[in-house]
């Protein structure tokens, strides 16, 4: 069910805006059929779509290890985890559709490079330990990012995020458990775990939280001002609740003791407890650090979208067959008047297409 913006007089616009601002100020949610400023709708569509794309693209690095998991138990866990990521994408596309877009348009935008997934997944999962490091570190970062989104001002997005967060806790724990098993294993296994952490720390701490948006986070004034303007807008509208740098600090604070318990070293020599601040210090994520982590225009960044596009194109015959079946038997599954010869031909053509592949 989506919002249907209606044309309104300028005076009524002011009244509508005041009502909208009042709802946000009181902490109430905005729901699909409510009036909302166009900028609010655009910011939400952009953020939810980017988030949904990241979930489905994020299946790829770990999915590559499904056939090579070291035990049936680990394989079952990894299948469940990757399946959840697909589900998270679907929850979010469903939420985006309440804003009056079609998920097919959003997928087209991803395939054509007009919209993007998180650059975190531009990096490859080189060893089995990477599946653990990804789940522990990037999913761990996602939880820190996403907990406040359970209270975001747009109702369908908040409700989707509550489902996501419930499942994300399992992702982080199984990842930590996988890392623990490696750290308690042979020296080679522990070295493999350390190597994966060395490669996944920066993508997690930099990319999962977005660019720097405060001077305290280490950005120069201009960068901080730019990031802050975007964050401020999102915070005013209740879409975001915290700055990127605040959430980044929260993530580092939770990770350092977890790494210590595993006996692993986070690859940042600047990490140390700051008694005065009551937080861990770490190398600030300025734009140089951020860009270094991006991995843009690399083999893997192209590969992720190409793979996704390929899967979509390979599935075309299924969509065609499904549409032809619905046209023949009616969307509710009973024979319909649309059962014409043309439809029968379409079904048969789709079956022939299917037959070629089995």
């Amino acid at each position: 069910m989506s919002a249907q913006p209606t044309a309104t007089e300028p005076a009524a616009q002011d009244e509508l805006l005041a009502h909208f601002d009042g709802l946000i100020a009181s902490g109430a949610t905005i729901e699909p059929r409510d009036w909302m400023p166009e900028g609010y709708r655009r910011m939400l569509i952009r953020q939810i779509a980017q988030h949904a794309h990241s979930e489905i693209i994020g299946m790829q690095p770990e999915g590559a290890w499904l056939t090579r998991a070291p035990s049936l138990h680990r394989k079952s866990v990894l299948i469940a985890k990757v399946q959840d990521e697909a589900g998270h994408g679907m929850y979010l596309y469903s939420a985006a559709e309440t804003l009056g877009v079609d998920r097919a348009e959003l997928l087209d935008a991803l395939h054509q490079g007009r919209q993007r997934a998180s650059a975190t997944f531009n990096h490859p999962a080189l060893t089995w330990a990477d599946t653990g490091a990804i789940a522990w570190l990037t999913d761990g970062a996602a939880v820190v990012n996403q907990m406040p989104l359970c209270r975001t001002s747009y109702g369908p997005y908040a409700r989707a995020m509550r489902r996501v967060c419930q499942e994300e806790a399992f992702h982080v724990r199984q990842g930590y458990d996988l890392m623990r098993a490696l750290c308690e294993g042979s020296p080679e296994q522990k070295a493999m775990a350390q190597d994966a952490v060395n490669r996944w720390w920066l993508p997690a701490v930099a990319l999962m939280f977005g660019p720097p948006d405060t001077a305290a986070g280490g950005a120069d004034d201009r960068t901080a001002a730019l990031g802050a303007a975007v964050s401020r807008r999102a915070i005013t509208w209740g879409i975001k609740r915290h700055t990127n740098d605040e959430l980044r600090q929260r993530f580092v604070d939770s990770c350092v003791p977890q790494a210590e318990r595993l006996g692993l070293t986070l690859p940042d020599p600047a990490i140390r407890w700051n008694e005065e601040r009551g937080h861990y210090d770490f190398t600030p994520v300025d734009w140089d650090v951020y860009r270094a982590a991006l991995g843009e225009d690399t083999h893997w960044s192209r590969q992720r979208v190409a793979h996704r596009r390929g899967a979509h194109e390979d599935g075309a015959w299924v969509r065609e067959a499904s549409a032809a079946y619905a046209a023949r038997f009616g969307a509710d599954g009973s024979p319909s008047e649309a059962d014409t010869e043309a439809d029968v031909a379409a079904v048969e053509a789709a079956r022939d297409g299917a037959g070629e592949r089995v």
Binding site: M1, D34, Y91, G100, P156, R163, Q166, S322, A331
Partner: protein, 103 residues
């Protein structure tokens, strides 16, 4: 209802009864060309955990809706009619409303 691109599969609203004693609740939506496929997709998406009891799917364009903000007079029911609430009247006992139990 969602604007739908031509040729895109229909949108279906999904309702789940998560456990006994609860009514079906709206949980989100799926895309599917027909009802059976919509149920399969809803199962895969919304019942991966827990012990769900029942799923409904309803074509999104079959839902007719009205919200207070759009058509205020439609909902001018309860707010201005305090006499619809028990607090509007004197309690039945000296203990006040807390001692008012009739059951």
């Amino acid at each position: 209802m969602s604007r739908q691109r031509e040729g895109a599969p229909a949108s279906w609203e999904v309702f789940l009864r998560p456990r006994r004693g609860l009514a079906h609740q709206h949980v989100g939506s799926v895309r599917a060309a027909d009802a059976d496929t919509a149920l399969l997709r809803a199962r895969d998406l919304y019942t991966r955990r827990g012990d769900p009891l029942s799923l409904w799917v309803v074509r999104s364009d079959a839902v007719h809706a009205v919200s207070p903000d759009e058509r205020d007079p439609f909902f001018t029911g309860a707010r201005h009619k305090p006499y619809r609430y028990p607090e509007h009247f004197a309690p039945l006992t000296e203990k006040g409303p807390d001692g008012d139990h009739l059951d």
